[in-house]
Subunit: 353 residues, 2 copies
DNA sequence: TTGTAAGCGTTATCAA
DNA sequence: TTGATAACGCTTACAA
């Protein structure tokens, strides 16, 4: 590590600009602080005389007044902030989702506070509590899974929340998800059309709704097309797990399927690695389809055939769902399912005999 | 869009668990709230009798008391939060940086509030102000550039901040960066050793310190090795800009360099696209080196030879720098430069004659 | 329509 | 060492 200190110091800290308070505006206008508050608050601006309101607005702008969200939050127990709980920001599906959430929230004056659990339940619980302490108005869970969960507790405690990407098992929070079954059907049909008659599915952990929906759809699609099928459950939705699954499959030798529908792009990528390591080639020896169309999937070697999920829009819809919930104070048990699309690229080809 | 509403409603919102306040603990212990505050605050716990402190701690735990950060923030004008301003979370170098920042912050009780500017100065300014309003204790800028900037204003106003990845031109905030010059030297040497004698550099926008450092190093490295050089300045650090630069370069025909050192991986990826579109191949017709080793660069087609920057650690160091600044209340003008490493993969090969 | 005043849950100053 | 008390900056009954 190189450290180069020029020795120049910034001297005394300049003072962070004195914040102008509501009282300053009130004084300038010659009116009571309460009136200023009412005039500046969309919900109460009707209660104040049009002309005074105009004068207050002008003064506020002149002084550069902006309400202190901390003080307001203390008073109203609302922070105009929503917590976003995801497993890991470096999983490439999350940045687009988060940006979608923020883009929707920003328009309504809300901000997103994003935290990472690394898939650890204890961490998730701690982060959840700390978000509540910070007075978030609601939570968007990107960590949904079946069984006991933080989301389940949140629901029991009446916390406003929604799910994104995955649902929460039995917990009736609204969710924004992709039409995963459609995507899997398209993938299987595509492979069938290419001539594949034995196809494998790398399923994600059974606790995730995305895993279950995709693997059920896989079974249904294969059966309806008369395709022989194998399902291998991966420990996680990760490159390593995908590699392990593919290695196991390749060991089948002659009975090895000619194509795989991976539960997500990371598993597909793991399959790439296994294929390469086994001295085989994709798509010549094995066709591989991913799921999500994560950023840069088109730049993989070979470019990945995958199912595109509108991740940004998933984020937008989840945020809308939450905002709606905050407004109506009613938790609706519904799913918004967005259409997905098979993107055919270079990782699929006819099987060779 | 498919909407399926089961019609099941969650009934009346359960009530979010009643928060237990400092007064509740005080009452239980039979002591004044002020004492509880002192006992629970690391800075003042020495002022309270060991035994009372123990009783207070026990009661707090029993009741599940946790201080309300909003109330505390109002009183102390500190939120134990730092703002992180980056251009775009979907730029793959940022998730690792952000995780690094958070991992350091978490240990010290701070949280990170991340916002995206999309490279727009006005947006950045608005977000900056809103972060200050939210009482962030400091800011980490991932958006540094030369000339008038939000960081410059922040410095003038005495705001605690540090830079990550890029520095802020003339503004003397501390910065955590990579040893970019070393990386470029390694890249040029690698290409020279392969036999390349004319090399191009795709430089990023001149306002970024990363661009300047890298392109200066490129010039120096080529000159010291007697390599002919061309520099093309890209409009942005983006795939599209890289493609444009490469297309322009390929149009040179016979005078086209046989290798390019791209200012970052995105520019390199753009060059991939241009090469493919021109019916050429990498590395056969053109060797390409990237910069950063963004996630999944090894999975590109071909796997990208690039300079690995320890992005996560950059985040960690930036956070440390800021925490240090918050503690000492002194803005030190220094740079922490972390070593980088050339990762040779499949996008570089000897030139063919 | 506007003023008054209480209070959100802490921390910090001052006395005891 | 502890208690009393006054802020922090805002919103919101309630009164005028």
């Amino acid at each position: 590590m190189g450290i180069g200190d020029t020795g120049v110091k910034a001297g005394m800290m300049g003072r962070v600009t004195e914040r102008v308070r509501i009282a300053d505006v009130a004084r300038l206008v010659g009116v009571h602080p309460g009136t200023v508050s009412r005039a500046l608050n969309p919900k109460t601006e009707a209660e104040v005389n049009g002309e005074t309101r105009a004068r207050i607005r002008r003064a506020a702008k002149q002084l550069g007044y902006t309400p202190n969200p901390i003080a307001r939050g203390l008073r109203t127990s609302s922070s105009m902030t929503v917590g976003v709980i995801i497993p890991d920001l470096t999983n490439p599906i999350f940045p687009p989702i988060v940006r979608g959430i923020e883009s929707c929230l920003a328009g309504r004056g809300y901000s997103a506070f994003v935290v990472n659990t690394d898939g650890d339940e204890k961490t998730e619980r701690a982060l959840f509590e700390s978000l509540l302490q910070r007075q978030v108005d609601g939570i968007i869970f990107g960590t949904g899974h079946a069984g006991p969960s933080v989301a389940a507790d949140a629901f029991a405690r009446g916390v406003n929340a929604v799910m994104v990407n995955r649902d929460a098992g039995g917990v009736p929070y609204p969710a924004a998800v992709g039409m995963d079954a459609d995507g899997i059907h398209s993938a299987v049909e595509h492979l069938h059309a290419l001539g594949h008659r034995t196809i494998a599915h790398f399923a994600g952990p059974a606790a995730f709704s995305t895993s279950r929906v995709r693997s059920d759809a896989f079974r249904a699609a294969c059966d309806s097309l008369g395709v022989e099928r194998v399902t291998i459950e991966a420990e996680q939705f990760s490159v390593d797990a995908g590699k392990a699954a593919a290695t196991e499959m390749i060991a089948l030798g002659a009975r090895c399927p000619t194509a795989v529908v991976a539960g997500n792009d990371l598993l597909a990528l793991g399959a790439y690695h296994a294929v390469r390591e086994a001295g085989l080639r994709c798509p010549d020896d094995l066709s591989i389809v991913g799921f999500n169309d994560m950023p840069f999937a088109e730049d993989f070697s070979p470019p990945l055939t995958t199912v595109r999920v509108p991740l940004f829009d998933l984020g937008v819809e989840a945020a809308k769902l939450l905002l709606d919930q905050l407004q109506t104070r009613e938790i609706r048990n519904l799913q918004i399912a967005l259409p997905v699309e098979l993107i055919v690229r270079g990782s699929t080809a006819p099987p060779r005999h």
